[in-house]
């Protein structure tokens, strides 16, 4: 019989039960680790799942007049008898491409946006052009609460208690010339502070415009707050436009320049895709977006969909502005 030094003695062999146990143990470990890794990757890609971004606490606006006090009659449209969208949703579901194209990322991306030293230049066809310091601009008229429906062109909607005053009050201060037919608006251009502007997903700076009669309409407001507090960055701080019967993208944010013109100004979305977004962009359930329906909308916080109203429910107030116009052509 040969003696083999390397021979493993039968008693030294790991018993199969132990061997397989160890193997199963390792495998269970690999399985668990991989599932955790997949979960971590999922969370990285979907941070909304873990939390809804930083909560914001901006300064309270003093002396806000409630709609009951400001509404001249029930037909003003200054308030709406529908549940208000929660503050957390209004501040964590935003289209603001200057910060991010992901609606749920904007709050985080805009969290450190500073508006100190903000000025708004009002120029063009006016008697008294002026560069307003923000504080002076906000002193033009007392702040009012306006509870408006907000209908996004993407077919979702909210009800938002804005704080602001009618834009016409600013126009009255600068005294438009009779030749002024349009108002053009411009957002801040500063890629260092607005990281979204470092990519050319849109043609910066963001520009919007209104016809003079639209701009003068009492429903059209210059807004500086929501829920009685100053606008958080993600909602367009420090000052933005709200035109409640138009799709949300008309409500230009973080405005630095307002110019009165004789001709219709170039506006960002209609320049980007003229067949999809018009200059007027009035909410209209009968004129679909080329790619999706505008007949219904998804109210944030509600299950299912609700029908979209003509002019977003403000037909009684603004319908006459478009009398005789073909709204399929002028969408």
């Amino acid at each position: 019989m040969l003696k083999d030094e390397n021979k493993i003695l039968a008693r030294e062999v790991t018993p199969p039960s132990v061997y397989f146990n160890r193997r199963n143990f390792i495998r269970a470990g690999i399985l668990a680790a991989s599932a955790v890794a997949t979960g971590v990757v999922y969370r990285k890609l979907n941070p909304v799942g873990t939390n809804s971004g930083p909560s914001v606490q901006t300064a309270k606006i003093e002396g806000v007049q409630k709609p009951a006090a400001t509404a001249t009659n029930d037909n003003s449209g200054f308030t709406v008898n529908e549940p208000e969208t929660p503050f957390e949703d209004i501040t964590h579901y935003n289209n603001f491409y200057e910060f991010s194209t992901d609606k749920e990322e904007v709050a985080t991306a805009a969290a450190n946006f500073k508006t100190t030293g903000w000025t708004v230049s009002v120029e063009g066809l006016v008697n008294k052009p002026k560069v307003f310091a923000l504080d002076d601009l906000l002193k033009i008229a007392p702040p009012e609460e306006r509870i408006y429906r907000m209908r996004c062109v993407e077919a979702w909607s909210m009800v938002i208690p804005w704080v602001g005053f009618s834009f016409s009050k600013l126009l009255n201060v600068v005294e438009p010339l009779s030749s002024a037919k349009y108002v053009a608006f411009q957002t801040l251009l500063d890629p260092a502070r607005m990281p979204g502007q470092r990519s050319n997903v849109l043609d910066w700076p963001y520009a919007e415009g209104l016809r003079m009669d639209e701009a003068m309409h009492p429903l059209t407001i210059l807004a500086s707050g929501i829920y009685g507090r100053a606008l958080p960055p993600q909602d367009g701080a420090p000052i933005r436009m709200i035109i409640p019967w138009k799709y949300g993208f008309k409500g230009i944010k973080s405005i630095v320049k307002i110019k009165l013109l004789e001709t219709q100004p170039r506006t960002t979305w209609s320049a980007y895709a003229p067949k999809e977004y018009g200059f007027y962009a009035n909410v209209n359930p009968h004129v679909d977006h080329p790619r999706w329906s505008q007949a219904t909308e998804q109210r944030i916080g509600e299950p299912g969909r609700r029908p979209t109203l003509m002019f977003n429910g403000y037909e009684a107030q603004v319908g006459h502005l478009y009398a005789g116009m073909d709204l399929r052509k002028n969408f």
Binding site: R27, I30, L31, S34, A35, T38, G39, Y42, R43, N46, V48, G49, T50, N51, S52, E88, D89, H92, Y93, Y97, T101, K103, E104, E154, W156, V201, L202, Y272, A273, D288, R291, W292, S293, Q298, I300, G301, P303, G304, R305
Partner: protein, 214 residues
């Protein structure tokens, strides 16, 4: 690779494929899907469908380029997961967006071009899922089965177009999927061409490893 190891790797894929669904369900039950949970569910299930379609299409290139023959055993599960998430995607559209209304679902399917592409992608996956069993492969015969399962290409292309068409302006993510898809198709074209011109490209062949035994 041993059969036992392959079974374990399949288990790995099975479990990991369910992780996103488990997290979706968990977040949903804790109201942590954000301001627009229905959109989030529709978008995420759609995204998972695309990811699994890409994985399905990546099996053959990975197997041939890296000589990892065992990956072929994962293809069926990738494909079935794509179909599974595709069904969830459609069901969440039908239930959450269309509120279980058959007529409005049908109306939207007809009216929206981007849905044409999506529904085509989903429908072509039905015969693929049905014929995914070993018995069906035998019944159809390898050649016919392989021809039928080229429909996976239609599903992948349709799915990516479907996604691209509804993005408002930021098309970066759909373009990433399109780029991955082009690489996977590019490989297939190159591979076919190579097989037809073996003499010319003998050197390329010599660099890629011969098929290994499992």
């Amino acid at each position: 690779m041993k059969e036992d190891d392959i079974r374990f790797i399949k288990l790995l894929v099975l479990v990991n494929g369910l992780v996103p669904l488990a997290l979706l369900a968990w977040d949903q039950s804790h109201h942590r899907l954000g301001a627009n949970p229905q959109n989030f569910l529709i978008l995420t299930t759609g995204m998972m469908t695309l990811i699994f379609l890409m994985l399905t299409m990546a099996v053959t290139p990975v197997r041939k380029v890296f000589g990892l023959n065992w990956v072929i055993h994962l293809r069926r599960m990738f494909g079935l997961y794509a179909f599974f998430y595709g069904c969830l995607h459609f069901l969440s559209f039908y239930s959450l967006d269309r509120a279980f209304s058959l007529s409005s679902t049908l109306h939207e399917i007809v009216a929206r071009k981007y849905i044409w592409f999506g529904i085509t992608a989903l429908l072509v996956m039905v015969p693929l899922a049905v014929t995914s069993t070993n018995a069906m492969i035998k019944r159809l015969g390898g050649k016919r089965w392989r021809a039928l399962h080229r429909l996976a290409y239609v599903a992948a292309v349709g799915g990516v177009i479907h996604y691209h068409m509804q993005v408002k302006a930021d098309v970066r993510l759909p373009l990433v999927f399109a780029a991955v898809l082009s690489v996977l198709f590019g490989y297939r074209l190159l591979d076919t061409w190579r097989q037809r011109k073996p003499a010319l490209l003998a050197w390329t062949l010599s660099r890629s490893e011969p098929p290994r035994k499992d």
